[in-house]
């Protein structure tokens, strides 16, 4: 009897904990959704579900500033960052994971060390660099600067995966007459797929959410990416914060990420858990 009670208590405690965690993580997003559907003073009434959802905020986001353009900027910057990171990381991981050369582990440590600098520490130096390259207020400047955040972990994750691919597989392909490029593209890439989806998605999210560089390296409204654009949404006067529009914009930019994660869900899990390719 006593054991039964304890088991029920343990289970209740477990679900209570799960409930708290879910509430803690989901509530802010729920609040954003609810707030985005309210206008004017309704914002300051506490309603769990708005009685009359107003879609005006969603329209206003696009009409009162170039938000469509901002979304497009974010898509371009994040996609380009992912593409460049993956190309560089896959080729780098082939060298770092497969070829023995002097200073390989030092190089890997340096790559890891790059990701340890806080963004602020490199901000002013980066600013000079971007300006010298003529990339100020240009999406290309953002892509270049985001690579210092995404490359370290894409290189590291892919190098780990590359090392786990059996050496004999590569040798079999060599005997079959494959060039190094064909070994990469025809043998390794298909096997690295799950790892590339996972790291690519993480890189996409990092680039999509980035704020500090995007704020510093852009000047005009139509070069801004979404996080900066949202932060700079202003009301009719400087004393008014248009919460409704800010919330609507936040919801709009969150949805693509949720969709991406849902689409690649299976791949992400397999990419994170299974590294080994068992023939």
């Amino acid at each position: 009897m006593g054991r039964n009670i304890r088991r029920v208590a343990a289970r209740t405690g477990f679900y209570l904990l799960v409930g708290v965690i879910v509430f803690y993580t989901v509530f802010p997003f729920y609040w954003a959704v609810v707030s985005s559907l309210k206008t004017g003073s309704a914002l300051f009434n506490v309603n769990l579900i708005p009685a009359r959802p107003a879609w005006g905020n969603y329209v206003a986001v696009f009409t009162q500033q170039p938000f469509g353009r901002n979304i497009l900027n974010s898509v371009i910057v994040a996609s380009a960052t992912v593409a460049v990171s993956l190309v560089l990381a896959v080729t780098a991981s082939y060298a770092l994971g497969r070829i023995r050369f002097r200073g390989r582990s030092t190089l890997l440590m340096v790559i890891l060390a790059v990701s340890m600098f806080p963004q602020v520490a490199v901000l002013s130096g980066m600013f000079e660099l971007i300006r010298t390259l003529g990339l100020y207020n240009n999406l290309a400047g953002l892509i270049v600067s985001y690579l210092i955040m995404t490359l370290p972990f894409t290189v590291w994750v892919l190098t780990t995966f590359m090392r786990e691919l059996p050496r004999e597989l590569e040798e079999a392909a060599m005997v079959d007459g494959a060039s190094p490029w064909q070994i990469m593209t025809r043998v390794f890439l298909p096997l690295l797929g799950p790892a590339m989806v996972t790291t690519g998605l993480l890189a996409f999210i990092a680039a999509w959410n980035e704020f500090l560089f995007a704020l510093t390296f852009t000047l005009t409204n139509d070069m801004r990416t979404v996080p900066v654009a949202i932060a700079l949404i202003s009301g009719a006067s400087s004393f008014e914060s248009p919460w409704g529009r800010i919330m609507a914009a936040s919801v709009i930019v969150t949805v693509p990420l949720i969709l991406l994660v849902l689409v690649f869900q299976r791949r992400i899990v397999s990419g994170l858990t299974t590294g080994a390719v068992k023939g």
Partner: protein, 374 residues
């Protein structure tokens, strides 16, 4: 098909020499087995032939042409790996066709060659499966099929059966022999298992410490081992070695005095070895008997009797403390703890000098005989 010639081949890894100058002729259309303990360099030697490693010195010739500057794909070789190394994301068909596609063969030609190889190996029903859906034996066949479709001049096998269970290994061994006869291919096979070497090879190359200890037909190695290493490595259970000293020389026989007492006349030419010097007497378990018959009789006590059904192996400690293995009949009544007289026939013994080299009678010293007609 073509023979392979190795000339003064050497290979070092980070200052350690693993192949120490090998000169070897691998005959055309024959099954040659490299055998040796782990770390003897046999796999490295195979990889040097394949072109997966570059030699530090020396050269590899296939069909008389030096191939040292050629990549693996251009050498006309095909290799079967220990782990099979099938491409996990490709079907069996694509695994076999991959090399042909890279070489830009026509679609029809590829189909024909893959199907012919698949039918030789009886894997046709599996062509559309992925490697992970196959058993170990099936994967092994596909790996061999991938080698066959390349229509190579030389097949290279790197311990291909070591991942299979015992029953399957025996079956695949037979199939490899059949396959070699059918394709009449030059096959080079690496293994650490002397039974595999004896059963598969027309010619066996025994390697140790990166050098060739002896090369010859299976029976040649069994009957006329050139040194202690080959004598101990070929044959199962291994040859017994007894400490002795040379007592006298006469014609084609040498008389030895065993450390534990007793004298025995052995067919051997001691060469430079002088009477009184230490020698090693080698005799296989199957040439000893537990009935005390023969030219010399040693008393011993049975420590363990291993019954295999068809035969019994007796592990006997002799009076002087040395241990020997004796083969007896499967239904022998001898048990552990029994006193047995161990009989030795001088004619079946081998004699080795202090340096390990066999003291072979002059009439068989001429060296390797050619491979036997199969």
């Amino acid at each position: 098909m073509a023979g392979v010639t190795l000339r003064g081949l050497r290979k070092s890894f980070a200052g350690t020499e693993v192949i120490r100058g090998i000169d070897l002729d691998i005959p055309d259309s024959r099954f040659t087995v490299f055998v040796g303990p782990s770390g003897c360099g046999k796999s490295t030697l195979l990889r040097l032939i394949a072109g997966l490693e570059d030699p530090s010195a020396g050269s590899v010739l296939i069909d008389g042409d030096a191939v040292d500057h050629l990549p693996p794909a251009k050498r006309g070789i095909a290799m079967v790996f220990q782990s099979y190394a099938l491409y996990p994301h490709m079907t069996v068909y694509d695994n076999m066709a991959f090399g042909l596609k890279l070489a830009r063969h026509g679609r029809q030609a590829i189909r024909e060659r893959v199907h012919r190889a698949a039918s030789i190996l009886q894997v046709e029903p599996l062509l559309s499966r992925k490697p992970r859906e196959l058993s170990g034996g099936q994967r092994q066949r596909v790996a061999i099929g991938r080698a066959i479709v390349r229509d190579p001049r030389v097949f290279l096998f790197d311990e291909p059966l070591s991942n299979l269970d015992a029953a399957l290994r025996v079956q695949m061994r037979l199939e490899l022999t059949r396959l070699q006869a059918e394709l009449e291919g030059t096959m080079v096979y690496v293994t650490h298992d002397q039974v595999e070497a004896m059963t598969l090879g027309h010619r066996i190359v025994v390697l140790n410490n990166g050098a060739v200890e002896q090369a010859g037909s299976p029976l040649e190695l069994y009957h006329r081992p050139r040194n202690l290493f080959v004598a101990g490595f070929i044959g199962s259970p291994r040859m017994n070695f007894l400490a002795a000293s040379l007592a006298g020389v006469g014609g084609d026989t040498a008389t030895v005095a065993l450390a534990g007492g007793g004298r025995l006349a052995v067919p051997a030419a001691p060469g430079k070895v002088r009477p009184g010097q230490r020698v090693t007497l080698g005799v296989r378990p199957e040439h000893l008997n537990a009935a005390g018959e023969g030219d010399l009789r040693l008393d011993g006590i049975v420590l363990v009797a291993e019954r295999l059904g068809s035969e019994t192996y007796l592990y006997v400690r002799l009076a002087d403390g040395q241990e020997v293995t004796v083969k007896a009949a499967g239904d022998t009544s001898i048990q552990s703890g029994d006193q047995v007289p161990v009989g030795i026939r001088g004619g079946a013994c081998h004699l080795f000098g202090d340096d390990g080299a066999a003291l072979v009678p002059t009439d068989v010293q001429s060296g390797e005989a050619g491979p036997p007609a199969s």
